[in-house]
Symmetry: C2
Subunit: 237 residues, 2 copies
Amino acid sequence: MSAPDKGGDRQGWRALREIIHERILSGAYPPGARLPRDADLAEQLGCARATVQRAMRALADDGLIERKRKGGSRVLAHPVTRATFDIPVAREEVEATGRAYGYQLVARDIAQTPHSVAAAMGLDAPERMLRAQALHLADRRPFMYEDRWISLATVPEIVDVDLTRESANEWLLAHRPYSRCTLRFSAANATPAQAELLGTRPGDALFVIERCTWLGSAPITCVTALAPPGYALTTEA
Amino acid sequence: MSAPDKGGDRQGWRALREIIHERILSGAYPPGARLPRDADLAEQLGCARATVQRAMRALADDGLIERKRKGGSRVLAHPVTRATFDIPVAREEVEATGRAYGYQLVARDIAQTPHSVAAAMGLDAPERMLRAQALHLADRRPFMYEDRWISLATVPEIVDVDLTRESANEWLLAHRPYSRCTLRFSAANATPAQAELLGTRPGDALFVIERCTWLGSAPITCVTALAPPGYALTTEA
DNA sequence: AACAGTAATATGTACGCACATATTTTGTCA
DNA sequence: TGACAAAATATGTGCGTACATATTACTGTT
């Protein structure tokens, strides 16, 4: 009758994804084109619709195709480059490269947040928060400098933590999980003070990571991390 | 007898994920703790194991828990911040903010790649490639400068494309899909020439995106994109 | 011709079952 | 005690079905 297993090897959904991906790359399904229905692909490839779903869902997650409830699936005309970064804890980032991690508290006080920080945290007005500035070291050399504000309203216990011994980041991760997190990457010229701390020259281009976290709608912390020249984030999409 | 629907509302896997996430946040499943088996959670929450699977899989993808084939599921002790960025085509990035997009070819020639570029592409030795330098504009002002090398071996047709009218990036996306892509974010001080092109001052901190793409194992292109101060990548994890 | 209501349709989700696979644990034997 | 093999176990995957949901397409009315 018909050829129910034309697809070939009857492998898993990963193989299916690969087959469909190949068809896109080879031009069989050109950019903007509509893909066959899941059910048709299932029959064509000799597997269940659920398996096709899994593969198509993965392709959609990768930003390769677009799926709509009745419009079917289409190959994206302008595929975005979708990259996933894992921002590790500084300690682990350092130790992953075989270097010795070190930590050093630079300053700690309680003060009114600048308006910019309050705004980033979604607050209506500045608040008094704990500010901790610290250095992360790799083999005794500056690896990253962080300037952090911690909400006393949300995390009152933080005032009793000895931040000279333990990084605020690690304490927070262990004691205050967050449910929301915003990230912002940019570049900035080092101020003289920052250059001094990072062991570079004023004006050097620093890599800037700004991160704010919340538990529910309550702000936990907002940190600006500065990395000296040579630092880079890499990933494979 | 028993309470088969204790979990409550009998909602979908997204609700399940939320419930489990709540338990993690609330400390019911503290960092490092082992979660119940999928099957037990399924019974406890009154749904099928497949549904629990879906929810747990999502939590694992989010970097919140860790799953192993027999070790069960554990809450990660040091959850990484996992962020997904969509790097759009420059045109769309500009137009998304309501500004007028402009494009300008700065230089185009065929030359030997530097060793650094050849290495980034995974080549054993430098090759002659097409080099295209171009400016992306937003409302007539420099938005991003790109310095691109395109493999003549993989994409010979590129020599016949009029790059003064069409951005190499957009032509490549439309005609040469890629299967692999590496990304690297960093910061760099502007050289005088770069500052001139981007309308900033020499030494200003630029945001640097380096991207290389391949089709299979054949290198397609390698581009260094520079953005002037003010540019930032943001996301919500 | 414009519009609203309805039917058709493709994907999304859920369930229950069976089997595959990767580890851990246990047990056996030297 | 230690090494290696076998059993146990939790997750991973696949199938078939049924129903849910979001859009599109159609259809009849004004």
